[in-house]
């Protein structure tokens, strides 16, 4: 793997070919906010909060750093007026769903986002897909998946698999940036498998 030299926020950074901008920045101690990223999981590119500005041969474009591969001699700016404005809008859009998410609240403070800017839709899930992807890629259980499309998309435990696998695992719970995941699990547990929730309460 050849070494690639690039510049991030004015700092000369070395990276390995095939790395993403986000990895290169993290290695150099430069912080880029993320919501749907997890080091053990394949990049998802869904939340778009890690958007950065990249200058290639004098051309500036916006890319998401969790997917964009490092290139020789490119200039990366992790903050700019436009980047900040877009991040702020994204955070505000997500806070219409999960205003109390600690991760979102921290980001809101950093970017001056107003949690009440958009009409609330208290569905809590922000569709980061961490639980779904962790269960598929790391736990390899596929006990939770997305159902529906677009604005009607939601996460759902598959009762048959969840009843067998989830009680002893629950590794996805701490990944969730909102409280929705636990709620979805409890619901499935209570509705579909009353015996297993009884079992839990006995413990």
């Amino acid at each position: 793997m050849s070494e690639i030299q690039l510049q991030i926020d004015g700092k000369e950074v070395k990276a390995k070919e095939g790395m993403t901008l986000l990895e290169a920045a993290q290695n150099a101690g430069i912080f880029i906010p993320t919501l749907c990223h997890h080091e053990k999981l394949e990049s998802f590119g869904g939340c778009r909060v890690c958007i950065v500005e990249v200058e290639v041969n004098g051309w500036t474009k916006l890319v998401v750093s969790c997917v964009y591969p490092v290139e020789e001699n490119i200039i990366v700016r992790t903050r700019s007026e436009k980047v900040d404005r877009i991040r702020k809008t994204i955070i505000e859009l997500l806070m219409a769903h999960a205003p109390d998410s600690p991760q979102l609240q921290d980001l809101a403070q950093e970017y001056g986002a107003d949690k009440d800017r958009f009409e609330k839709n208290a569905s809590f899930c922000i569709h980061c897909g961490l639980c779904v992807r962790y269960c598929a890629e790391v736990a390899k259980k596929n006990a939770i998946g997305f159902v529906g499309r677009g604005i009607n998309k939601e996460i759902s435990f598959i009762p048959e698999i969840a009843a067998k696998e989830c009680n002893d695992c629950k590794e996805c719970f701490p990944l969730c940036p909102t409280s929705y995941l636990q709620a979805a699990f409890v619901l499935v547990e209570a509705l579909s498998f009353p015996s297993s929730s009884e079992h839990e309460s006995e413990e």
């Binding site: 990049s43 590119g45 859009l93």
Partner: protein, 646 residues
Amino acid sequence: MARLSSPEELENFRQEILSKRDPNRPCISICAGAGCIASGADEVIEAFKAQIEKEGLTAKVDTKGTGCPGFCERGPVVVIYPEEICYLQVTAEDVPEIISHTIKEKKVVERLLFVDSVTGEKAIHESDISFYKNQERNVLCNNIKIDSKSIDDYLAIGGYSALTKVLSKMTDVEVLEEVKKSNLRGRGGAGFPAGRKWEGSRNAPEPIKYVIVNADEGDPGAFMDRALLEGNPHSILEGLIIGGYAIGSHEGYFYVRQEYPLAVENINLAIKQAQEYGLLGENILGSGFDFKVFVHQGAGAFVCGESTALMTSLEGRVGEPRPKYTRSNIKGLWGRPSVLNNVETWANVPLIINKGADWFTQIGTESSKGTKIFSLVGKITNTGLVEVPMGMTLKDIIYKIGGGIPDGKKFKAVQTGGPSGGCIPEDQLDLKVGFDELTKAGSMMGSGGMIVLDEDTCMVDVARYFINFLTDESCGKCVPCREGLRQMHRILTNITEGKGKEGDIELLEELSETAVEASLCALGKSAPNPFLSTLRYFRDEYEAHIKEKRCPALVCKELIAYHIDPDKCTACMICLRKCPADAIIGEKKKIHIVDQEKCTKCGTCFEVCPSKFGAVTKISGEPVPEPIAEEKRTITKKSKKESKKK
């Protein structure tokens, strides 16, 4: 039949087909495209067959269900060869007359001819009809000449001669160079040069490569790919095989939406026929080139027309775009080099090979070559598919071919490029159609949708409609598209309902910026276009809705009221009887009044009030006049005369 094993065998077979056909033998071609079938073409075809048999003409006259010639507005379309007499809106009842007059006595049935709405002149031949006359039909022209289910018909008009040429006389590099030289740009939306896309795949080191037809035409009101798939499937298949040869691929796919059952049927049949004839499979025409094709049916998601979502779906996974910044011609289907082109792009390939890149580049503008098929729909006299050279002005398409706006209404805008395209206003009608020209005007070519809007269209409502469509079709993977569009739709709905606020336009602009800059795929990036282009050209309408709570086009229900002009009302009772909400108060000889509390603004009264009275009006942005005093409501003959004197 035995597989044809060399170009010579194919040529001999073609001559054999032609030798059995008498060009002077009468042939009745009836459009069997989806539009005409919906208007009763099936019954017309049956009626012709029955009548021909009844009159003992079976041995003398042919009938043929063909592909769509494009003039859907006047379907079912019937063309009688060799004279090329074109009859429109033919019904089964017309059939005996056509047989006795035209087939037997060689006379024309006047009442079934096209009548020009402007000049009033009748046209006998297809080529004389103004709708066709001003088109340049290179790709669509064969639809009406062939039975789309017959490979022999396709061979009879010279089909698969481009494939023969490629396999026997050209190297793969020469084919690629010819397509590059033609500057053929993708007809599916982005307009990316096909040759460059092919070259990227060809040069990619991975040995297994794919060629794919994007037949997931999902734009509302667009049906050009459908017409080709249903009407001339072999032309697309031939292009695909040539593409496979050029890039070194041995496997092709048709990704067809399942909502096009006839297209799926005809494509499957075409593949089967081509296999039987030795035009697909191993060692095609003895050339040593192997190629096989599979059909995959899409399950109805608009986003699957996007290249990476299509490929993900083809792999059997949820059709969502990939986040990667690699081109799919390098890493596409199953991570391998994949050339994805749209139906119309592939259908152009045999023409370029047969007639040459120099012929192709003569047509069109500097940066957009060849012809383009548009589906001309909306408030237009001649609805249908039109194929024109790139560079024709919007005005010529709408007025010369489309015959202008019906019912004496005024043109307002034309929406091009599908749901994420834009609206182009009247003062830009001289714009020449081309990829770059349309993008510059704030719209796009897209796959060729062209929706004409007249003065009775509210542009804010149009933006709301398309944003609603896109919100519904968002795959939901990335935030700017899923959440941003949802909020944009909500704000636009509020504006059309009179709940717009100061700052809404700016907020919509900010959400648009986020979607354009930060969305994952091209659909999200272009999704705010319906708003951005209508704001660019019709900002005053947005402001009227927000500031004055007025809908200038008198469309938005919450912002209009229906009012009966007491001076014009003759108390005829028509609107009163038709009102589904019982919101009209009155009786015979008593001027009618709209009860605004009860009125649901369905518009029935406005439509049924006889035009000679024109008493029902729409009001927006101003208070509804107080109802006329009770004592003045009674109409006596005298008072009527008096009011007329006034």
